[in-house]
Structure formats: C-alpha cells, structure tokens
Symmetry: C2
Subunit: 181 residues, 2 copies
C-alpha cells in the first residue's frame, strides 16, 4: 500500500489564515488581508513584527484551535481507504505546539491513529512514497515524491507539482478509485 | 553520512529502572528488584497492576526526570561526529509524554538539534540506516538495520544483533573511527 505523509500547518490546518486574522487585529500595520495572502509573512513584515509572529507561534494554545482546511477531513478520510496515511508536522521548532497538535488531531482527525502521527523537525527522516507539504525546503529534503500544497509563501516555486486545495488532492490521488467505487 | 536513529525509553533513558523503583515502593507486590529486571513487567505483573503501570506512564511529569542510561551522553556525543544522529521515540502512545520528552532531551542531549528529534508511533516511518531500540516490534517494522538494545523484556530474542549497553554501541559504531582519531 502506498504511503502518503501529510503536513499539518497550511495543509491540514489553516495556520496562515489564523495568523492573518491576528496580524490585522493586533499588529500596527497598513497591510491588508489581500497583501498578507499574497506573499510570505516573513517577506511582508518588518523584522520586529515578524519576531512578534514567532512569539505568537510559541504561545501555548496557538495551535489548538486553528481552523481545519476546507475539505481536508473528508478527503483524508477517503484517502485512508486506499493509502497508508501519516501526519507529519515539523512541530519540534515550537515546544509548546506538541500537545496542542496532538489534541487538534484528536479533535479533527480522530481516525488517524497515534501510530500514524509524527512530530519531527527535518522531513528527510520520513519514509513515505508521497509528502504533501507547503514548504519547498521540506519537499527538497524528502526522499519520496513531493507535492506542493499552494500557500502564500510558495507561489513562485516551480520545482514541485502543485495542488491548490484538498479537492485537487482528492482528484489526484482518488480519481481512479472513485471511478471504481 | 550514515544515519542512526536512537530510541529513548530503555535506550537513552532508564525508564524501566524508574518503573521498578516505583513498583517496589508503591505497589503491593512480593516481586523483588531481581525479579522485575528478569522479564517484561507485563509478563510479571497481574493485569490490574500492569494497568496501574500504564497509569504511571500517562501521568504528566513521569518522563521528565528519568535517569540517563549509563555512558549514553558521552557515546552519543561521540557518534554525532561520525554519523547523522536522530532521536526517535514512539511517544504518541502517551500524550502527556510529549513535552516531558522534549524537555528531557534539552536537559541531557542539548546537542541534538530539534531538527533531529522525532516523536512518532510506528517506526516504519523512519528513514535511517540504523535503529537502536529495545523493542523487537519496532525493529521488525523498521526498514533499515535494527540493533536490539538489551532490556528485561527482550532477553529471549535472537532475531536482531544485540548490544548490552552504550559502551558496546560505541565499540560497534566507533571502533574504527576511534583508531583513526
């Protein structure tokens, strides 16, 4: 059975969307929502403000209530019938995210067994056929086939196959299976 | 560079030793320390008592102050000069262990970067040349070469190369390098 590893932030979870809301509400900025969705936050924000973003990411609870990406639950559940699904998040960068991410998966993806959850750092450690991730550097480190999940910070990359949303993931990985069902 | 993945419990950390102390102190048992070091706790204890052990493992803080296995810090530090070292613990079974394990590594193995830390479930997800682990089922799932770290619950296994302690790990993986140094 082919194995697909799925990233969490900006793939299963709309982490960027939550950050944009916080920036618009709490940061002193003239950037609009459209601006913030058009490039990486690191490139758009003043270094001092980006440091504040990192502080937000480090706060206990930040990763606990992130909205689920549209269609992710349904497509991942369907994928589970045809592929071995692992969730693999580079969570080690943020100590306080570990339990939040575990609980978030329990809430939204309870059908992903604890045996299939990975909190890691460098994604070169993953042994899987596919990795769906929004970060080019994660896909570049990965030994299998990398699929880039569209995100504001990767719009210009052309090295990897791109999927725009979970509907497209479903079409790519389940097209034939769905015809058979 | 060859990559070695290292398990935590009963490999880097003397988890069994901590449990034995707790059982001798807090459990109503006639088993001696020698008994408890001679076979798996699951096989030695009454199911009700083993359930109590699982409760101990689930308690926040349990994994935070486990003694480091003898010689582990020195040998792992030396290994880091010649191999790519990842720590990979099947921590997902115990939600509350996640932060404790992270902090424990920060305290005892600060030279292992967060990028090289993995909290996972099934070790078939690891892409590494070697895995040093005390559980036969982890080594059986692993795609690289498995090395069995001696422990009370694996004494009868003959399927994997066995190391008795960290000195032996050093001899196996650093023998030649040490000659060169």
């Amino acid at each position: 059975m082919l194995r697909i590893a799925l990233d969490m932030d900006d793939v299963l979870a709309d982490t960027h969307g939550k950050l944009v809301k916080i920036i618009l509400k709490d940061f002193d900025t003239s950037l609009t929502e459209k601006d913030l969705n058009g490039a990486s936050l690191r490139s758009l924000l003043h270094p001092k403000q980006y440091k504040k973003v990192v502080g937000v990411l480090n706060a206990p609870g930040f990763f606990r209530d992130i909205p689920v990406m549209k269609d992710a639950v349904e497509v991942v559940r369907e994928l589970s019938g045809y592929y071995e699904i692992f969730v693999a998040s580079a969570a080690m960068e943020f100590r306080n995210s570990l339990i939040d991410k575990f609980d978030w998966l329990d809430e939204h993806f309870p059908f992903i067994h604890w045996k299939n959850r990975v909190l890691c750092g460098d994604k070169s450690i993953l042994k899987a056929h596919y990795l769906i991730d929004d970060h080019v550097f994660n896909l570049a480190n990965f030994s299998g086939k990398g699929i880039l999940f569209n995100a504001p910070h990767n719009l210009e990359d052309t090295r990897f196959d791109r999927v725009m949303n979970w509907k497209e993931v479903g079409e790519r990985f389940l097209g034939n299976s769905r015809d058979r069902v």
